[in-house]
Amino acid sequence: MHPAISVICFTLFSGAGYGLLSFLCLDDLFDLNFNLSSARHMGLVVVALVLITVGLLASTLHLANPRNAWRAFFRFRTSWLSREGVFAVLLYPVALFWLFTLWGSDAGGSKVLAALTFLLCIATLFSTGMIYACLKTIRQWNTALTPTNYILLGFMLGSLVLVASGAGNVTIALIMVGAAALGKLIYYYWIGQPAGPTINSALGFTRATVRLLDVGHGEGNFLTEEFGYEVAKAKLIWLRLISIALAFLLPALLLLAFGATAGIPAMLCGFAGVFVERWLFFAEARHVVNLYHGAQAT
């Protein structure tokens, strides 16, 4: 799949925002020992909302016809993209109300609203993951690991933002980094297993080798541009290593070695690593339509 920067930024920033917001809700609900002042708490909620908004705005850049973006809420019944939009939008008033209740209250905000905000964060992150996971056409995405990873990585980034802001909890961040790393490693192992349709099943000729002779659209088209994206195997391995190092190893090492003082570099590494991870998420995804363009398997 062609990695679109707008979509990468969307899931990266809004994911981090939802992660951050989730932790802030949890802290309000269960006191995770973040030791946040009301102002700080509110400030961080605003930061989370800004991250989310930046992400959502980035996602609209992906639209070829953004004039109709407002219609995206109508198919809540079947479309994960619509659901994500609905949750994302619902979250704003709820979170703002909650933010309002946080105002000047040392005891935290409305617990009901915090819980609601948290649930909406999870729902949105889950929906984002499901946008990809529900596609049977891309076996690298069509797995429960996808929403799991989206949630874990969002939480990880959120926890790193918290640590970087001088608040938060290094242990929680380390746990999140570990969990996210584990999730991602399982994912990489899983997509390495051959499965799914082949050029044979795609065409219905299963008794012999099938090869593409001519594609019938010599200079490419939307399909080859959107789905034909391919990166050299060696480059992919390097990028995976870079992403794992940046997203997981470096933040973990930095936090282990220097504690909260390394919060900012750990967060920056985390963002950079997840950016590469998101890029790979697209670049490594093999849409089945490629079978018709000559790929032997997905």
């Binding site: 090869r211 002779l213 659209h217 010599g218």
Partner: protein, 980 residues
């Protein structure tokens, strides 16, 4: 059918704003009927006309892309003249008015016509009005005219017309309705586009077997039940091996041979004598007199026309004078029964295993003789014998370019016809059906014009059918009269001329210098020439006097082709949607086997440019020059333009360009007085005319009395006698005798001509290694190299078509995967391809479906930078390539004899057909680096300059004929629908 439009559907089409007109497609040579829906002045839709006999409603990719032809930014917009002082080929043009352009042209032509008419050479390419252009040339008085058949398929036309009185494509079709076995030889999309597709589907639906013989498995071969990936140029050997198997196993139709062929006719066996190999005749001095047979009844020699004498098919006999004679069939059997043609002895040469060869022959025999079809329609043969039904041998064949574009193509085509005749599968149900006006007598009784005089029309058409050396167009010294040397000793039966030799001969002033070269729809500066780069050089070559070797070049075309750039005067034509046209029975007929057909074009759109139909221009120039057929006694034009000419000009009384709706009120068909309403009558009938042949005249027409009488009555044939198929060609034997120095008439003088006559003019089909390959080391050049056009561009101008080029804008060199891997070649790598004539750099693509000794490419994809409205970086120019660079129009030096006679053209020695499939190449790795700059085909050419008035090509195109009516989904449905 579907329910009427559901009420919630909007009115999509604004039918009130639409008009529908019929006309004839011109996106290739197929000439399908089309229905064009116009919305205002824009084309909404071009579709096949369901009533049309050719395409019956279907339409190919090209036809469907007609809008983009009309939208092409490469359309010429105004007459142009090369700027004074600029060099030819530099692309410096300035506009000139039509009046000035025609004055200039007329004056030049007037001078030529008044002094030496042959100094005008007029050649046409994808011309669908050869009857008119040929008429014009003959009125002008130059014999230097032909169309593109010389590099297309003259081998097929000549091979058939000299053997069975018809041929493939425009001459005959497989009987798609009844054939149970279909063998297709060397056919890409060739001739014709839609009818073959329609036919193949019919065959397959009925469970008939389809065998394809072709080095490459693309196009039609994809759906063949069996693919025989033969080596190029060896088809003749395969056909003759089929003949061997059929004869050896006694599986041939003796009655058919006895009745309808010259198989029983007696051939004189007198080696070394002037009459050796000629047919025994009633009067040896009169070659029109009766041929003779051996009567088994009377045990004596009797005239062939004596149908009751019971002729012998085989045997050697003596005449009263003691001359030894054999039946033609005996000579044929002696030859083809020879072990030389046994499957096991040819298998390696052709790349097909012996068992397969034998099996295919036996399969055909089985179908022909054990699965006979019978149509219960009584008919009478020419001799009055009554038959209660038509017996069909349901084995059909089709063959085209893969056979014809070899220098052994004429004899190969004959070899294929021989197999058809042995099976009795000619013009019978399930066999190979002729299409009116065919079959014709062998060959059609038209001789090529040879005499020219100033200001005088030719006595006949420039092209014809020689039957003896006396008919050649040569002077007293035996030198060619024509600029292309057609009908000379170099190409005696060049029925379609040798367009591919015109430029070279003219530049070499061999046989003489010309003044003006006039080209219509022929891209001789690019893909229609062998040897493209050298041809461009020749077009701008100057003599010592500083004048161009070809002093004046006139091009008429609708598009900015490469040829335009090499012209001095450019006359812009209309597109096919902007003019009247006739597709005439006098020309290249569009008939179907069971109906005689012709058609017209009518303007659908009004030109938005300063362009004129070439037909009108020709007639105007002809009238200005005072062509007798075009002016009245007072010198005034006889006809008011093209439409008037078509209606009122008659070739002979009652016969004109259009055969339908003749007679005063359009009540007569085929023959009748001019009808002033004829165009409208055609338009009212969907722009075509179809005359159905009654059932009892539909088969065995070469011997069908009623058909033959009718064909004479409508002018198809000169007499109603039987059309006797000539398995043994006395015509060829006469040329052979001339080569042997035995002929009682003109004989060649040059050794090379003598050898050509003696060796290749064999009266019986035979196979020989293609001429170029005789002079090329197959070890040094291990690959055969051929090319074909893809279905969506076949026989069309439209490589630049905005829709079609999206399918393919770059061609590759295809090679057999296993073979490539054994040589270390990889998919998509760049390679050098080298022939004796040149070297090109191309990108390789590996495939399964190609003979392992063969490489091939799609031709005419490549374009010169800047031509056809394409940008300079179009893949057609940067990545695509022409194989033409590798092909020479002359043969390489003969390593055995050191013969480097420049004049020996790379053509079939009999017909002069350009032998562009004889090529052999070697292939080597090109650059090792991956640098993008290396990824370019070679040679590259300088970009052409834009023409004056040429609009820039759009970056984005959004063609639409009208407003769009969206089918809305209701808000309620959007909100409320669940998963289903």
């Amino acid at each position: 059918m579907l329910e009427p439009m559901s009420p919630q559907l909007p009115k999509f089409e604004d039918h009130a704003a639409q008009t529908v007109k019929t006309t004839t497609c011109y996106m290739c040579a197929c000439r399908c009927g089309i229905k064009v829906t116009l919305e205002g002045e824009k084309i909404r839709f071009i579709q096949g006309n369901p009533d049309h006999p050719i395409n019956k409603g279907v339409l190919c990719a090209k036809g469907n892309a007609g809008i983009m032809k009309q939208m092409s930014p490469a359309k010429l917009t105004q007459p142009l003249i090369r700027k004074k002082g600029s060099e030819r080929g530099s692309g410096e043009f300035e506009p000139i008015s039509w009046d000035d352009a025609l004055d200039l042209l007329t004056e030049r032509l007037r001078h030529i016509r008044a002094t030496d008419p042959r100094k005008l050479a007029y050649f046409t390419g994808r011309d669908q009005m050869q009857a008119l252009t040929g008429f014009w040339a003959s009125q002008f008085g130059t014999i230097n005219w032909s169309a593109h058949g010389g590099f297309c398929s003259v081998n097929m036309a000549a091979g058939g017309l000299y053997m069975i009185g018809q041929s493939f494509w425009e001459f005959g079709d497989p009987d798609w309705e009844h054939a149970k076995y279909f063998m297709m030889w060397g056919v890409a999309e060739d001739h014709a586009s839609n009818p073959i597709k329609i036919g193949i589907e019919k065959l397959k639906r009925r469970g008939s077997k389809f065998v394809s013989i072709n080095p490459v498995r693309t196009g039609y071969q994809a759906v063949a039940d069996e693919w025989i990936g033969i080596k190029p140029g060896t088809d003749g050997l395969l056909a003759l091996s089929f003949a061997h198997v059929l004869l050896k196993n006694d599986l041939f139709d003796k009655d058919f041979l006895l009745r309808y062929t010259n198989g029983p006719q007696l051939v004189i066996c007198a080696p070394g004598q002037a009459n050796d190999g000629l047919l025994l005749r009633a009067d040896a001095t009169d070659d029109k007199s009766d041929t003779q047979v051996w009567s088994l009844k009377s045990q004596s020699i009797q005239p062939w026309s004596d149908v009751h004498c019971e002729p012998a098919l085989f045997g050697e006999y003596q005449t009263a004078d003691g001359v030894t004679v054999k039946t033609a069939m005996t000579l044929l059997a002696e030859r083809y029964l020879s072990e030389e043609y046994a499957p096991q002895n040819i298998a390696d040469k052709i790349g097909v295993d012996a068992d397969t060869i034998e099996r295919l022959a036996l399969e055909m025999a089985h179908v022909a003789f054990r699965e006979t079809v019978e149509i219960d329609t009584p008919w009478t043969d020419w001799a009055g014998r009554e038959h209660k039904s038509f017996i069909g041998r349901p084995v059909a064949m089709h063959a085209m370019r893969g056979v014809s574009a070899h220098s052994n193509g004429f004899q190969t085509c004959r070899a294929i016809h021989l197999v058809q005749v042995l099976l009795g599968a000619i013009d019978c149900p399930g066999g190979h059906l002729a299409k009116p006006p065919f079959p014709r007598h062998l060959p059609p009784p038209i001789k090529p014009a040879t005499e020219m005089a100033p200001n005088t029309p030719l006595s006949g058409p420039p092209l014809g059918f020689p039957t003896a050396p006396e008919d050649l167009a040569i002077d007293a010294n035996g030198d060619p009269l024509r600029i292309d040397k057609a009908y000379s000793w170099e190409a005696p039966i060049a029925n379609h001329g040798l367009m591919h030799m015109v430029i070279k001969n003219a530049v070499n002033e061999d046989p003489y210098a010309i003044d003006t070269l006039m080209l219509f729809m022929a891209n001789m500066a690019w893909n229609s020439s062998m040897n493209t780069a050298q041809t461009q050089d020749m077009l701008r070559q100057k003599g010592e006097d500083g004048e161009y070797k070809i002093p004046f070049i006139v091009t008429c075309d609708a598009f900015n082709s490469e040829m335009v750039q090499y012209s001095d005067l450019v006359l812009p034509d209309t597109t096919y949607l902007e003019r009247f046209d006739t597709i005439s029975l006098l020309d290249r007929p569009i008939s179907e086997p069971h109906s005689a057909c012709d058609s017209i074009r009518q303007p659908i759109l009004t030109p938005d440019r300063d362009v004129r139909p070439w037909q009108e221009v020709m007639l105007e120039v002809g009238a200005r020059l005072g062509f007798p057929a075009l002016v009245k006694d007072d010198g005034q034009p006889k006809y008011q333009g093209y439409q008037d000419f078509i209606v009122n000009w008659e070739k002979s009384p009652g016969i004109g360009f259009l055969s339908g709706y003749r007679g005063e009120h359009g009540e007569k068909s085929l023959v009748g007085e001019p009808n002033q309403n004829q165009w409208q009558d055609y338009i009212d009938n969907g722009c075509f005319f179809e005359y159905e042949i009654p059932p009892h005249q539909r088969y065995y027409r070469f011997a069908n009395k009623d058909y033959l009488q009718w064909a004479k009555s409508v002018g198809f044939n000169g007499h109603d006698g039987p059309i006797v198929m000539e398995l043994y060609s006395e015509t060829l034997q006469k040329f052979k005798l001339a080569g042997q120095g035995l002929y009682d008439g003109p004989q060649p003088v040059k050794a090379v001509d003598k050898q050509r006559m003696a060796e290749y003019f064999d009266p019986m089909p035979f196979w020989y290694l293609p001429l170029e390959q005789q002079r090329i080391s197959s070890e040094e050049y291990p690959f055969f190299a051929v090319n074909q056009r893809p279905m969506f561009m076949y026989h069309s101008w439209d490589s630049q078509n905005a829709w079609l080029r999206q399918i393919m804008a770059q061609n590759y060199l295809y090679m057999n995967r296993k073979r490539a891997e054994s040589l270390g070649f990889t998919d998509l790598q760049w390679v050098w391809v080298e022939s004796h004539n040149g070297k090109i750099k191309v990108q390789l693509k590996l495939m399964e479906g190609v003979n392992s000794d063969t490489v091939w490419t799609w031709n005419a994809i490549a374009k010169q930078r800047g031509a056809w409205g394409l940008s300079d970086n179009a893949p057609e120019s940067t990545l695509g390539f022409l194989m033409n660079h590798l092909i020479s129009e002359t043969l390489p030096t003969d390593p055995a004899t050191g013969d480097h006679s420049e004049n020996k053209s790379n053509s079939d020695p009999i017909t002069g057909q350009a032998a562009w499939y004889d090529l052999r190449v070697k292939i080597s790795h090109a650059v090792a680096s991956d640098a993008k700059t290396d990824e370019q085909s070679l040679p590259q050419f300088e970009p052409l300059k834009p023409l004056p008035g040429q609009a820039p090509s759009p970056e984005v195109m959004r063609y639409s004929a009208g407003r769009q009516v969206n089918l809305k989904r209701s808000f309620k449905d959007t909100i409320l629908r669940g998963f289903k």
